[in-house]
């Protein structure tokens, strides 16, 4: 049976562990350049803050309205990644099949080692204890006949819970839960389902498959199966966190929205600078440039294009991103952009090797400038040196880092 490990308020717990002052207080870890920014987004809130209704993905502005006395801090993603790596290592002591599902979620297939450690429940408890003992972080464990059920089970008791759902408990265990608790049901799907009179997972399980299929296609079939706790995906071993990183991205919320191409281009430059800086820091180059535009909060447009070879330089990534943006000029004329993001995927781990260029033999200006700027920023802070056109960056726009994991 797969074991699902879900870290409890991961980022907030790390901050509370490291800074005792934050313990027992409503702490809100934000995605932002500086914690006071109203353009920031809540990344994780501590359990104390959740009592005020503060949730992930909420704007900092909204969170401050709900919880004005909360402690708002900026996330340190390198630190969180480092902790995730340690958790992965702890899991690997109990089985060689550990999947890094996201930065704070892991699946373990312990079929081959469960006898050694006394069964799945014991393994779950041991991992929970080890994580608490060794790095002082709480997590909840879910165990079920498949990954879907295990993941849902870890939600049952939080924080520091352990829930086992057996084959025999299904589908009754899920039936009373609201339908949005089901993996794969987002905001839109929830609305669709509610309009069909489906409010609980039990309602969904009781709806004839044909009806769901005719409305949602194959997604309908998958949803109904999920509502019954049926799922056939297996635990894929992730070798290490480095290999699991899929993309580096930054995005910026633009308040009421921006349509002016020149200004959007400038925001894009700031975001790209952040992305490539982080890539160089972590030792990655990437080939595919993606932009993501949220238009008037109505819909999202994603566009991507690949370069001939991988790069970690703004001089390579930025022109591609601008090109992608320019192609959407017709759309921009009709809808303002409310959130803009740029990311680089199709990554090459520089530890594996970097293709050198003949142009490096001539005058590798972009590369040299980037490395000098990096070392200045390393010493004197991220804003110590900026491109002139970005001098008002941070005052007017902020970027939110995003790391996507396979």
């Amino acid at each position: 049976m797969p074991i699902h490990i879900d870290m409890d308020a991961f980022f907030a717990s790390i901050e509370q562990r490291d800074i005792p002052l934050y313990k027992g207080k409503p702490l809100i870890v934000c995605h932002t350049d500086d914690a006071l920014s109203i353009r920031g987004i809540v990344s994780t809130s501590s359990y104390e803050a959740r009592e005020y209704g503060v949730r992930s993905a909420m704007s900092v502005l909204e969170a401050k309205r709900l919880c004005p006395d909360g402690i708002y801090v900026k996330g340190s993603y390198d630190k969180y990644l480092h902790n995730a790596k340690t958790i992965h290592e702890i899991c690997l002591r109990y089985s060689d099949k550990v999947e890094i599902y996201s930065v704070d979620e892991f699946f373990i297939d312990a079929r081959n080692s469960s006898r050694l450690f006394g069964g799945e429940v014991d393994i779950g408890l041991q991992i929970q204890n080890k994580i608490a003992e060794e790095i002082g972080l709480p997590c909840s464990i879910g165990i079920g006949p498949n990954k879907l059920v295990a993941k849902m089970a870890s939600e049952f008791k939080k924080p520091r819970g352990l829930t086992v759902i057996e084959e025999a408990d299904l589908p009754d265990a899920f039936a009373p839960l609201p339908v949005y608790k089901l993996v794969g049901v987002g905001r839109k799907m929830r609305r669709h389902l509610n309009s069909m009179g489906i409010f609980t997972i039990g309602d969904l399980a009781g709806t004839p498959e044909d009806e769901l299929k005719s409305r949602f296609g194959i997604v309908g079939t998958a949803l109904r199966q999920a509502s019954l706790g049926m799922n056939s995906s297996t635990v894929h071993s992730s070798f290490n966190l480095r290999e699991s990183i899929k993309s580096f991205g930054h995005s910026s919320a633009l308040g009421k929205g921006l349509s002016d191409l020149d200004r959007l281009t400038k925001v894009l430059l700031g975001l790209t600078e952040g992305v490539t800086r982080r890539m160089r820091k972590e030792g990655y180059a990437g080939r595919t440039v993606n932009i993501r535009l949220s238009m008037a909060r109505l819909f999202t447009v994603c566009r991507s294009k690949s370069m001939a070879v991988s790069s970690d330089l703004t001089d390579d990534v930025y022109p591609m991103a601008v090109n992608l943006l320019n192609k959407e000029s017709q759309l921009l004329a009709r809808y303002p952009v409310t959130t803009i993001g740029v990311s680089v995927s199709n990554l090459t781990d520089m530890e594996k090797g970097l293709q050198l260029s003949v142009l490096d033999l001539l005058e590798n200006r972009a590369g040299k400038i980037a490395s000098v700027m990096d070392s200045i920023r390393g010493k004197f802070g991220e804003r110590a040196v900026l491109r002139a056109s970005l001098s008002d960056w941070g005052r007017r726009y902020h970027s939110v880092p995003r790391l996507e994991i396979k």
């Binding site: 991988s310 090459t348 594996k352 050198l356 003949v358 033999l361 001539l362």
Partner: protein, 368 residues
């Protein structure tokens, strides 16, 4: 317009022109071939605004005229007919082209010459004449090092430098660089330095391959180059700007030269490359009269192959992109080649043995 001609001849002429037709063009008229009949010849031309092809065939003109016909459609029709001769005429009142062959009759909608882009004409004496076979071989060796990425337009071109008695071609996608050189008998009067899109040169090579003529005449205009082989002309735009200073890139010459059998080296590299997946490099290690080619991909496996070589020096290990290395080896003519290395971060050179008319420079992959 009205003419009669051999069906095969017309197909050949249209197929030559079809090379210049882009399937991606936004302008419908560019999917057409301009045909102009006058006296005993029919002139055919097509363009995608970067490359144009012009040729002519023998016909019996009954009435002079011109029109633009959809290339794919007319070729499909002609290749499906059985008759030796076809008669083609413009039916003015309907604005259609009529094809008559035996019992078959086709009426096709057409475009008009007035809407077709003007294609430059060759005028006066050619700038220079080139040996078709030699130039074809040089294009084949050099053009593959050019970039296919439109993000760097300059590098999608081949730098062609000519003097009264010599020609040189240089291409680089910035990860490898190829240089071909040759003597010229009828070179230009002065020095010429132009950048021709690699795609145009590849098309020129295809025309050379289907032609029985051995001379390529070159006509230069301000921003176009015209190649004439027999009755076929290929017209290409030139890339404007400054090509990277390749002379600065070329190393002074290395002392460590390894002579290898080309077929053996190529085979080994291709075999070992099978285990260089997910962007991992192949590694070439040389020491003690031995060269080892190796690769390993995490979770997949590894491969090594050793070859005896004459190389008494100390160990050098260099990593390369497998495809770039394979391209370099296949570019060299002859049964043997020389690979010159210096250190893991410096470019390696691949050259023919005892000749200096070709050079392939390849940048390594830096591995930690």
């Amino acid at each position: 317009m009205k003419f009669q001609c051999e069906r095969e001849n017309l197909i050949n002429g249209l197929q030559q022109c079809q090379r210049a037709i882009s399937t991606k063009s936004m302008l419908p008229i560019l999917s057409g071939i301009l045909i102009k009949s006058d006296g005993k010849t029919l002139n055919l031309s097509a363009t995608d605004l970067e490359i144009s092809v012009r040729t002519s065939i023998d016909v019996e003109t009954k009435e002079a005229g011109s029109l633009v016909v959809p290339a794919k459609l007319i070729l499909d029709i002609l290749t499906n007919l059985d008759e030796e001769k076809v008669e083609i005429s413009l039916i003015k009142e309907k604005g259609q082209l009529e094809i008559l062959a035996g019992e078959s009759r086709f009426d096709l909608n057409i475009f008009f010459e007035e809407d077709f882009p003007k294609i430059p004409e060759s005028q006066g004496e050619p700038t220079c004449d080139l040996d078709a076979d030699k130039i074809g071989a040089m294009i084949k060796e050099v053009a593959k090092a050019a970039s296919r990425d439109d993000a760097k337009p300059m590098l999608t071109g081949v730098l062609v430098e000519m003097e009264p008695t010599a020609i040189k071609m240089v291409a680089t996608d910035s990860y490898r660089l190829a240089i071909g050189e040759d003597k010229l008998d009828r070179g230009p009067g002065g020095n010429v330095s132009i950048i021709i899109p690699a795609r145009s040169l590849r098309e020129l090579n295809r025309i050379i391959a289907t032609s029985d003529k051995h001379i390529v005449s070159v006509f230069l205009t301000d921003n176009q180059v015209i190649f004439r082989i027999g009755g076929v002309e290929l017209i290409s735009r030139l890339i404007e700007g400054e090509f990277p200073n390749y002379k600065q890139i070329l190393p002074e010459g290395y002392e460590k030269k390894i002579r290898v059998n080309k077929g053996r080296f190529l085979g080994a590299t291709k075999r070992v490359s099978l285990l260089a997946q997910n962007n991992t490099p192949v590694k070439v290690t040389t020491a003690n009269n031995m060269m080892v080619i190796s690769a390993n991909t995490q979770d997949v496996g590894e491969a090594t192959e050793r070859m005896d070589v004459e190389f008494p020096g100390e160990e050098i290990k260099i990593a390369f992109n497998p495809q770039y290395l394979i391209d370099g080896i296949t570019s060299v003519e002859g049964d043997e080649l020389v690979i010159e290395v210096l250190d893991p971060l410096k470019p390696a050179l691949i050259k023919p043995v005892e000749k200096d008319d070709f050079l392939y420079l390849i940048m390594p992959i830096r591995v930690s």
